[in-house]
């Protein structure tokens, strides 16, 4: 359809009409934008659920959730929505779709129509999850209250209503969406790099998405299998995979779930690693330090991430030798993670750092990820984990790597590429207001939770002894501040979109040197009709 132009798409910006453009979209940039809008929408739902939980927990006693089951529903849905419908769509669907083709010099993704399918499965999945709120879950009420981990028997005989069936269908749809996306990214990255761009010259964000895509491809089928087995167990007279009365074992589900669940953690954080690498390099005005080490550290994290799953299950009654293995294997992950942290520091060392908004997010990411990482080392020790497992210490740990790791990575990428994606610049004071309130807010939420966990407060409790009151109150004040911060986020985005300060092609300067910065802001509807030839410079 599009004529083969002499240069990069100027003069044939043949955008389809609105409906065809946004609903039949096969353009990677439009699909990326749809993913980002979808992630923000899901983030509002997931965030609302968490603020409601913090409001409940601000004081001992039952404040809001007089129907106790609803609290468990909120806990479960907060986890599922934030993971499958906020973080993953943002980092992989959103930034991955937008910037992998641009960075590797490809005109689009390898399978544009499958890309469209990947996206549109997600709203269907989210609708299934939202329906699950309003239909019978168990005798206790509407919605599914078995946690995002969905352990049987609570998810089989414990939740006989249709609510959990909707969640299974929704997660299968989301899982297939991710598998299709993974196939697309792997094919694109392996086959469609610009002439001259060998895999060892590929930008680190493309590396991170490549590793992530392999993790998705290998992990999600296991989740799909586990969900199908749950479905079979739930049917009257069906299978008994996880039912001890019929020769099954509830712990088998936990193994299957965490075989998916632990790589899932890296699926969420690896693209953030990629984004942070580019931002640190751009604003230190230096090429990334130890490029190959950075790339292969991500590969190592991905590989080791598949053989440590049972550290989520130290207290289920595993054999001690098995626990010893998982203990040792888990500690190994600290090594490539340390390589990444130190390489970022070395990239900044000797640099000429400008503290732009994305750089502030990146610096905060590095420091807070270290805190989340070292508490992970504590938890890896199976002996210590006996005291901390399923307490608020774990909640604090994984929110430091997700709510501060992955989410800071998302904001880092969003503020870095906002002008490139939408062609307009934001007000940096408004964006700084968002950053600082968010930074302070999430730390106030989650740091005191370490203390709660060490004192023994279990997770997923709607009410707690008043001995835990102080830190819960502090934590809830932090949530209030974070809630205000989310409003500041929308303020700077909407302000930028209304005022429309035109973004130049490369508004970050010469060290933003990946291929997306050679294009206009926003890039032409079809780019790289003539493939760029990648020059042999230190371009990482």
């Amino acid at each position: 359809m599009a004529a083969i132009g002499a240069d990069e798409g100027y003069g044939h910006d043949d955008k389809p009409a609105f409906f065809a453009r946004w609903f039949y979209s096969t353009n990677h940039k439009d699909i990326g934008t749809l993913y980002l809008i979808f992630a923000i929408f899901s983030g509002i739902i997931g965030g609302f659920l968490s603020f409601a939980m913090r409001a409940e927990l601000a004081q001992p006693g039952i404040q809001i959730f007089h129907d106790l089951h609803t609290y468990n529903v909120f806990v479960s849905m907060h986890g599922l929505i934030m993971i499958f419908f906020m973080v993953m769509p943002a980092v992989i669907g959103g930034f991955g779709n937008w910037f992998v083709p641009l960075m590797i010099g490809a005109p689009d993704m390898a399978f544009p129509r499958m890309n469209n399918l990947s996206f549109w499965l997600l709203p269907v999945a989210l609708i299934c999850l939202i329906i699950s709120f309003f239909v019978q879950g168990s005798a206790s009420g509407n919605g599914f209250g078995g946690g995002w981990v969905m352990y049987p028997p609570l998810s089989t005989i414990g939740s006989p209503g249709p609510s959990f069936d909707f969640i299974i269908i929704g997660l299968l749809a989301a899982g297939f969406s991710s598998i299709f996306g993974a196939i697309n990214f792997i094919t694109t990255i392996l086959n469609m790099r610009a002439p001259g761009m060998t895999i060892h010259k590929m930008p680190l964000f493309a590396w991170s998405v490549l590793v992530t895509a392999f993790l998705l491809l290998l992990a999600l089928p296991v989740l799909a299998a586990a969900l199908f087995m749950l479905m079979g167990d739930r049917v009257e007279g069906g299978t008994g995979f996880f039912d001890p009365a019929r020769g099954g074992d509830p712990e088998m589900f936990q193994h299957l779930f965490w075989f998916f669940g632990h790589p899932e953690v890296y699926i969420m954080i690896l693209p953030a690693f990629g984004i942070v690498s580019h931002v640190v390099s751009t604003f230190s005005k230096k090429p990334i330090f130890g490029y190959l080490g950075m790339a292969y550290a991500m590969v190592a994290i991905g590989v080791v991430g598949f053989v440590v799953w049972a550290h989520h299950m130290y207290t289920v009654g595993m054999d001690v030798n098995l626990k010893a293995y998982f203990l040792a294997a888990t500690l190994v992950i600290a090594v490539p993670t340390g390589v990444k942290i130190f390489s970022w520091l070395a990239t900044m060392w000797g640099g000429s750092i400008s503290f732009s908004i994305p750089m502030q997010w990146a610096l905060a990411f590095i420091f807070l990820f270290v805190i989340g990482g070292v508490t992970g080392v504590v938890l890896a020790n199976a002996g210590i984990d006996t005291a901390l497992h399923d307490t608020y210490y774990v909640v604090a740990h994984f929110h430091y790597v997700l709510s501060m790791g992955a989410v800071f990575g998302i904001f880092c990428g969003f503020t870095y590429w906002f002008g490139k994606m939408f062609g307009v610049l934001y007000n940096k004071y408004l964006a700084a207001l968002h950053f600082w309130t968010f930074f302070v807010g999430v730390n106030i939420i989650f740091f005191p939770q370490h203390f709660l966990g060490m004192q023994g407060m279990p997770r997923r409790y709607v009410d707690y002894p008043e001995e835990f009151a102080l830190y819960n109150e502090i934590s809830s004040w932090g949530a209030a501040l974070t809630g205000v911060s989310v409003i500041f986020f929308f303020v700077w985005v909407i302000e930028a979109l209304i005022v429309r300060r035109k973004a130049p092609d490369n508004y970050w300067g010469e060290y933003a040197n990946t291929l997306e910065w050679t294009l206009s802001s926003p890039p032409p509807y079809h780019q790289f009709n003539t493939l760029p030839v990648y020059k042999d410079e230190d371009h990482h």
Binding site: N72, V374, Q455, Y461, L470, I474
Partner: protein, 280 residues
């Protein structure tokens, strides 16, 4: 205001925490509950003397480096960036040093793990059964004297009346003798639960169809009441099935056993017959 007074209280309790002994969670306290078994003592020793100092040192090291970098290498202080992108020695060092730290860490960690998990020759056995939503305790070796009994959460007014903390206190505590190696068999009747007593360093999932084992031995002189809470999501009343363990002297335990599971002579079976206190 309430917050400020609490923060002040916290600081005081922090300073006192060296001597303050907790058999239950303490508001504003940082750190673990008091250890009363060798396993929990070893756990705290390993955490406090090794893991915690290491992670604090790493965090401070990274923070100090970042502050130095931000001061020394910002665009005002250092207008011309260097071009260094490789340094093999450095890259090898930051791979090997963490490996060394972890190798040193893994030894005491394994020691703690095996101490916790390998049961010594135990002197008595209790069986813990998780129900939706309360606990049941049985004494298999003593069953001709002590019947198994169920332990429910005390309602708020009953807890206050009994002088027990609400959401921790129960109508019928698990009773065990001090200075005795107790094997704990944990299972569940329907849902998953987790039997957890922080002061003992015990947390073991209750899984239907499985008998999980763990053990504890309360140190001499540590008679008292210890509390724990269900630690695996089990449904609507997950937060309302606490664990209360009453550790008594060996002679009191014999009296309790010979009295059919009661300390008082005239209210025999008091532990079993307490349906009034059971919720719903």
């Amino acid at each position: 205001m309430r917050l400020i007074s609490k923060v002040a209280l916290t600081l005081t309790s922090l300073m006192m925490s060296g001597i303050a002994m907790a058999s239950q969670p303490k508001d504003g306290k940082i750190g673990f509950q008091e250890a009363v078994t060798p396993v929990m003592e070893e756990l705290i020793r390993f955490h406090h003397s090794f893991v915690f100092p290491v992670i604090v040192a790493i965090t401070i090291f990274v923070m100090a480096l970042m502050i130095y970098i931000m001061v020394r290498f910002n665009e005002k202080a250092n207008p011309v960036p260097s071009k260094t992108t490789h340094h093999v020695g450095l890259e090898v060092a930051w791979t090997l040093v963490p490996i060394l730290i972890l190798l040193v860490m893994v030894v005491p960690s394994m020691k703690l793990l095996y101490m916790q998990d390998r049961l010594p020759t135990t002197e008595m056995t209790i069986k813990v059964v998780g129900h939706t939503w309360h606990w049941e305790y049985q004494y298999p070796e003593l069953e001709d004297k002590v019947e198994g009994f169920e332990s429910y959460l005390l309602k708020k007014e009953d807890a206050l009346a009994a002088g027990k903390p609400y959401l921790l206190g129960t109508d019928a505590p698990l009773v065990v003798p001090v200075d005795t190696k107790v094997k704990v068999i944990v299972t569940s009747q329907a849902n998953l639960h987790s039997f957890s007593v922080p002061s003992f360093g015990v947390k073991m999932d209750a899984v239907p169809g499985r008998l999980n084992e763990t053990w504890f031995q309360v140190n001499p002189g540590k008679e008292g009441t210890y509390y724990g809470q269900c630690s695996e999501l089990c449904g609507i009343r997950h937060a309302f099935m606490p664990i209360e363990v009453k550790v008594v002297s060996k002679s009191d335990f014999h009296r309790w056993v010979n009295n059919g599971g009661s300390f008082s002579t005239n209210v025999a079976q008091a532990n079993i017959a307490a349906p009034a206190a059971a919720p719903k």
